[in-house]
């Protein structure tokens, strides 16, 4: 996984609540066996009409947000299915940071596995940032110092955010989770040996 670096970009305002994974990437795009190439279909039904033509009013179709790496949205973002195609499509589009007042658990977790930073802030703070995003201001996301900053009318605004230490390290260092766990394979073998004696039926009735 790539290391998470400081982001400087304007941000896409998407003031909707309960944006679900079907909205982020509809089912017809889940038939892929690859992780890449999903960005063009991100928010497909909000972004294109029934004839596949871009819907001008949708924020992703507005030129000024074309290269944005930040999405600012509403509460419970990413609710619904466990499909990792949701963060894959977001990352493939070029978004590396999502700001919302809350996220659904599975989606939140999936973001970190793909080098995306989901930031939780108070709803009032999210609303302020959304306003700033509508004015197309440039934001800096500094994960190292856990700070979002932006200039508005020559005033520098700074917003701090909280993040679990393990998740922060994983993003900053682009860690290979599986490699880290496999380094503790002795613990896993010890556990299996113990479990074989305490709940032996888990081992005697295996799938054949």
């Amino acid at each position: 996984m790539e290391k998470f670096k400081k982001i400087e970009s304007n941000a896409i305002p998407l003031p909707m609540v309960n944006v679900d994974t079907d909205m982020i990437i509809p089912k017809q795009f889940l038939k892929t066996i690859k992780r890449t190439g999903l960005g063009k279909n991100l928010f497909y039904e909000l972004r294109y009409d029934e004839k596949d033509a871009p819907i001008d009013s949708f924020v992703l179709n507005q030129d000024k947000y074309k290269d944005s790496q930040i999405l600012i949205t509403g509460k419970n973002f990413g609710c619904g299915s466990s499909r990792e195609h949701a963060p894959w499509s977001i990352l493939d589009y070029g978004i590396k940071c999502i700001i919302a007042s809350s996220f659904a658990d599975i989606f939140y977790n999936n973001c970190f596995k793909n080098g995306i930073l989901p930031i939780k802030l108070d709803e009032s703070e999210v609303t302020k940032l959304q306003k700033a995003a509508e004015n197309s201001l440039s934001f800096t996301i500094d994960l190292e110092n856990q700070k979002i900053s932006y200039f508005d009318k020559n005033i520098n605004h700074e917003v701090s955010f909280e993040l679990d230490k393990a998740k922060k390290t994983s993003l900053l260092e682009g860690l290979d989770d599986i490699g880290l766990t496999l380094a503790k394979v002795n613990h896993i073998s010890d556990f299996e040996n113990k479990q074989k004696s305490t709940t032996p039926w888990l081992y005697s009735q295996q799938i054949k």
Binding site: M16, V17, N18, D20, D22, M23, P26, K27, Q28, L30, K31, T32, I33, K34, R35, E45, E50, G74, K75, N76, C79, G80, S81, S82, R83, E84, P87, S102, A104, D105, I106, N109, N110, K113, N114, D164, K165, A166, D177, I178, L180, T181, L182, K184, V185, H187, I188, F191, E192, Q195, T198, T199, P200, W201, L202, S204, Q205, Q206, I207, K208
Partner: protein
């Protein structure tokens, strides 16, 4: 005496491999269910890193999401779907994982076949790259949905790195009125706590109304925990659980069954165990529920009205209500019972089990599906289908005008050919009424199997108790 523990605390403790310095824990995973949509990239990841599957025998795979429910003999006509299913089969062969193919009569929706095969057992940790893995919590197994990166992690290590969730108790006291089912309970719960109400929690369902449910009803409740935001839902194992699992293919053998049962019963939450949050709901207040909007929390009783956004004081909520009503093509204050439907879908991991089909057949028997309605029944597995046919349910449905299909996820997520056309309205026993979930522009009303069958007969949303 030690501190009283919840069922969740006990399963967590019994699966703790090690605690990492950063506060996370490595948790052992006893069983892993795999399907075609969320696994190809995980197997590809293993290949790139030259890693193997640690416990192929703890893993069970099947294709369910994008297989056809008609003309199975012709195979899968959609090339992308076919490639995905073939890829799963090849990956399973390469790694020695049991794969139940489309032609195997045990094939079905992962969350139906796990319990059916006795693969699901109390006290286990079970994961699957599918959010409705919470279903297995009905057995007192800690079961939750994961993304593809974690599927790869489990394949390679048989563990996951986790942070412990909080405990929530949802206590359903009292007795359910006649004609009210597990689906109505869980819709009521989601309406009460909201779709983010369970975020960060594992929910344990308790109370007389939960205890009185069959294992199948308990699965329906746990299945939709994720719609309340909780990754896992749990019900303490009891005699019904033990009875259900007896003699199933992967259940503990006879000589081990007693010790397994003793262990299972010991997992039930201790008296006085502390929960971070408790919600009480009175079962006798619940009447058949339906959804009106595009979020599973948009729930009303069948005798109610389509809500009016003007009555909502919260501006954000009001805006999303207006959007939902527009999408659903509904006018505020319309009685639910006047809402006409075009399609009916009975099936899914929420309501595709034999008892669901029996409940629907009772309504369908000696009645006809309304002329303008297209209604399909999709059994949750090949064995559910077989059982239903042995009981003659297929004949009841066919005579009544329902289509009798092959097992799979089908119109719950519409990855195969079973989908709604724009503006079509569906009475559905599935779990999500999101925009576009059952097909672009499709309008979904969630409800119980008896309610969906009643909607098929009357051609509009109906109270199954009045039929």
């Amino acid at each position: 005496m030690s501190t009283p523990k919840t069922l969740y605390d006990k399963i967590w403790n019994d699966h703790l491999v090690s605690e990492n310095e950063d506060g996370t824990s490595i948790i052992y995973i006893d069983r892993h269910l795999v399907h075609e949509v969320t696994s190809p990239q995980a197997f590809e990841g293993l290949k790139i890193a030259n890693r193997s599957v640690r416990k192929p025998n703890f893993t069970l795979a099947t294709a369910d999401h994008n297989i056809p429910t008609t003309n199975r003999d012709e195979g899968i006509s959609d090339p992308e779907s076919k490639l995905q299913v073939d890829t799963l089969e090849e990956n399973c062969k390469e790694h020695g994982i049991t794969f139940l193919s489309m032609s195997d009569k045990r094939q079905g929706i992962v969350h139906i076949i796990g319990p059916e095969q006795g693969f699901t057992q109390p006290g286990m940790t079970i994961v699957c790259g599918d959010s409705h893995t919470s279903t297995h919590g009905a057995f007192g197994a800690l079961a939750w949905g994961i993304g593809t990166s974690e599927v790869e992690h489990v394949l390679a290590t048989q563990t996951l790195v986790q942070t412990k969730a909080k405990n929530m108790q949802i206590n359903i006291q009292g007795e359910l009125p006649l004609g009210v089912t597990a689906k109505d309970i869980v819709l009521k719960i989601i309406q009460t706590i909201g779709t983010a109400g369970g975020t960060g929690y594992v929910i344990e369902y308790t109370g007389d109304a939960i205890k009185s449910l069959t294992m199948e009803g308990r699965m329906t409740v746990c299945n939709m925990s994720i719609e309340a935001g909780a990754r896992a839902g749990l019900i303490s194992p009891d005699e019904k659980t033990i009875e259900y699992l007896k003699g199933r293919p992967f259940s503990p053998a006879e000589n081990e069954y007693q010790s397994a049962s003793d262990y299972w019963l010991s997992l039930a939450s201790d008296e006085g165990a502390a929960y971070d949050k408790t919600v009480n709901i009175d079962a006798s207040d619940i009447i058949p529920q339906v959804t009106w909007g595009t979020s599973p929390e948009d729930v009303v009783s069948i005798d109610g009205l389509v809500p009016n956004p003007e009555d909502e004081s919260d501006e954000t909520k009001k805006k999303s209500m207006i959007r939902a009503l527009e999408y659903m093509g509904l006018v505020p204050n319309t009685p639910l019972k006047e809402v006409k439907v075009d399609k009916v879908f009975i099936g899914s991991c929420t309501n595709g089990r034999i008892e669901d089909l029996r409940a629907a057949s009772k309504i369908a028997k000696d009645r006809k599906v309304a002329d303008h309605v297209n209604a399909i029944i999709v059994p949750g597995s090949g064995l559910v289908k077989q059982q239903a046919e042995e009981e003659g349910l297929d004949k009841i449905f066919i005579e009544s005008g329902f289509e009798w299909r092959e097992p799979g996820c089908s119109m719950c997520l519409a990855m195969n050919a079973d989908k709604l056309k724009p503006q079509e309205r569906c009475a559905s026993t599935s779990n999500r009424n999101f925009e576009g979930r059952q097909g672009r522009g499709g309008r979904t009303h969630l409800m119980s199997p008896a309610m969906a069958a009643a909607a098929a007969i009357n051609g509009k949303l109906s109270d199954c108790r009045e039929i």
